[in-house]
């Protein structure tokens, strides 16, 4: 999942709030319904520069500008699990039990402390390069789970 170093410029590059990265449009993940609040963002790239680890950046390459700091919820809560509905599986084009990339959006509270949205994670099916945000009807997970790790 790690991408070439930002110093390696491609013909087409992508300008994010934290640096310029080569853009490989073939590596874009399709989000057929976008994300709630960003419904027109139909394609995203996942930028995972080493120095940002364990965080990465989910950056829209279609629709209005949108850039998110994300973290794998399993890095936050080791036994993290999310139930995917039949609708989610259809949207992702995958079968139950197939490996899935999970990402939680990271936000910052009024005091600047980071938290991760564990309740509504983003799921990406790497085999089909399709993603969606999972909105469970019921979830034991916090909408704002305080993070003990912060971006460097």
């Amino acid at each position: 999942m790690s991408l070439p170093h930002p110093r390696v410029y491609a013909a087409e590059s992508i300008d994010t709030p934290f640096g310029v990265f080569p853009l490989d449009r073939a590596a874009a993940v399709e989000f057929p319904s976008g994300l709630p609040g960003f419904e027109q963002c139909g394609r995203f790239v996942l930028l995972a520069p080493e120095e940002l680890g364990p965080f990465s950046c989910l950056h829209a390459v279609e629709g209005p500008p949108a850039s998110f700091l994300v973290v794998d919820p399993r890095e936050v809560v080791p036994d993290y699990q999310v139930a995917l509905s039949q609708t989610d599986l259809l949207r992702l084009g995958c079968h139950p039990g197939e490996p899935m990339i999970l990402l939680s959006l990271v936000g910052f509270d009024e005091a600047g402390a980071p938290y991760a949205n564990l309740r509504a994670p983003i799921a990406i099916n790497p085999a089909r390069m399709r993603g969606c945000q999972v909105l469970p009807h019921q979830s034991p997970h916090l909408l704002r789970y305080p993070l003990s790790i912060a971006p460097r």
């Binding site: 640096g19 709630p36 609040g37 960003f38």
Partner: protein
Amino acid sequence: MLVFTRKRDETIIIGNGIEVRVLRIGRDGVRIGVTAPPEVPVHRREVYDLIREENRRAADSAAPVHAARATRCGPTDGG
């Protein structure tokens, strides 16, 4: 907005295959059953709104952190 009067067990049909049925009418609420094709997500409005607001907040609150970090590291100095 289309407005209907429905009694218990009566339904409305939306498009091809979305059915909304009144299951029970109580004093404080109406219990509704939704039948939709599996590819159509159905959410409580307030759940969708909550996640939408959190998404917007995540985009807004992370950007300054990214920007501050970019200023420190510089996009081209090799981190």
